[in-house]
């Protein structure tokens, strides 16, 4: 059975490219348009991995991660940030919130799949 990845990004083109890359590698993709939408969709169905942007309206990525980590079902689900942010300060905040990795945009699909496979197989 294909593993499911929740991809959260407010940019339509990014969601399209992420979904395209992950589906081509055999993953199922659930997309969300911001942190709140991501949180709602994560609660509807526990996914195998969360891939999220940071700067989004309504709820940012770090806040969503903090909320997800407070849920019993998301204590151990890997969460990766995929963002334009690249500073050590932001990465440290991500790590503290519970992220398991940091990918700086733009992403290379081949590299993204390698990382996802390494994290969830």
């Amino acid at each position: 059975m294909a593993k499911t990845i929740l991809a959260v990004d407010d940019s339509g083109s990014l969601r399209q490219m992420v979904a395209f890359s992950l589906k081509a590698a055999g993953y199922e993709v659930v997309s969300a348009v911001d942190g709140q939408d991501g949180l709602n969709k994560a609660k509807e169905k526990t996914v195998d991995l969360v891939l999220t942007d940071q700067n989004m309206p309504i709820m940012d990525g770090l806040t969503m991660i903090t909320n997800l980590r407070s849920l019993a079902s998301y204590q151990k689900v890997p969460i990766l940030m995929l963002t334009t942010e690249s500073s050590d300060e932001m990465k440290a905040k991500g790590k503290a919130a519970g992220a398991n990795g940091w990918l700086v945009k733009p992403f290379d699909p081949k590299r993204l799949i390698e990382v996802v496979q390494k994290v969830i197989g």
């Binding site: 083109s13 990014l14 690249s86 700086v104 945009k105 699909p109 990382v115």
Partner: protein
Amino acid sequence: MKGNKLAPKNLPVAELRQLLTAVSDHGTQHLHEVEADLNQTAFLLTGAIEKLGESFMAIHAAVNHQQDEIDTLLIEAEVPEASYQKILLLRKQIADEVNAAVTGLQFQDMTSQLIERVIKRIDGLRESLIALSVHGEDMNPDHEHQEIVKLLAEMSAGLHLRNDALKGGLRKSVQQHDMRSGDVELF
């Protein structure tokens, strides 16, 4: 009149008010044009990425179908080894180009964040210019010298405050200067 001090009645308050109003009006007008151009640019970029994304998906689907047909032909027909190898090479080249296109098609996410930041800066600058004009209107030719000095000091302090507030709300989230793929770090 001693030194460069002006007697209250000689202060060019009317001219100062006129100058502040002109700076504010002209500045606001130009900022309005800049903002309109940026919004138009953002709109065009959004339209462009939507069309590019749709075309990319359609081309990719067509190429996949074409490759499936070629696979069928390769099974059914006798194909010279050289042709077979050439087809494999082209297939790899297409896959590499698809990857490169996916990376390139992410430009709008970054440009939209940068444009959003510029528009926030324009809003802040516009507010400062409007404040200049409003303070200018508070000046009166009948004001004492010290009152004018106080008003100017308040204007200056207000501008500094607005500037600091603007800087605080404008953290730069996009440092990229090209479309090379970014770093990856697992914690």
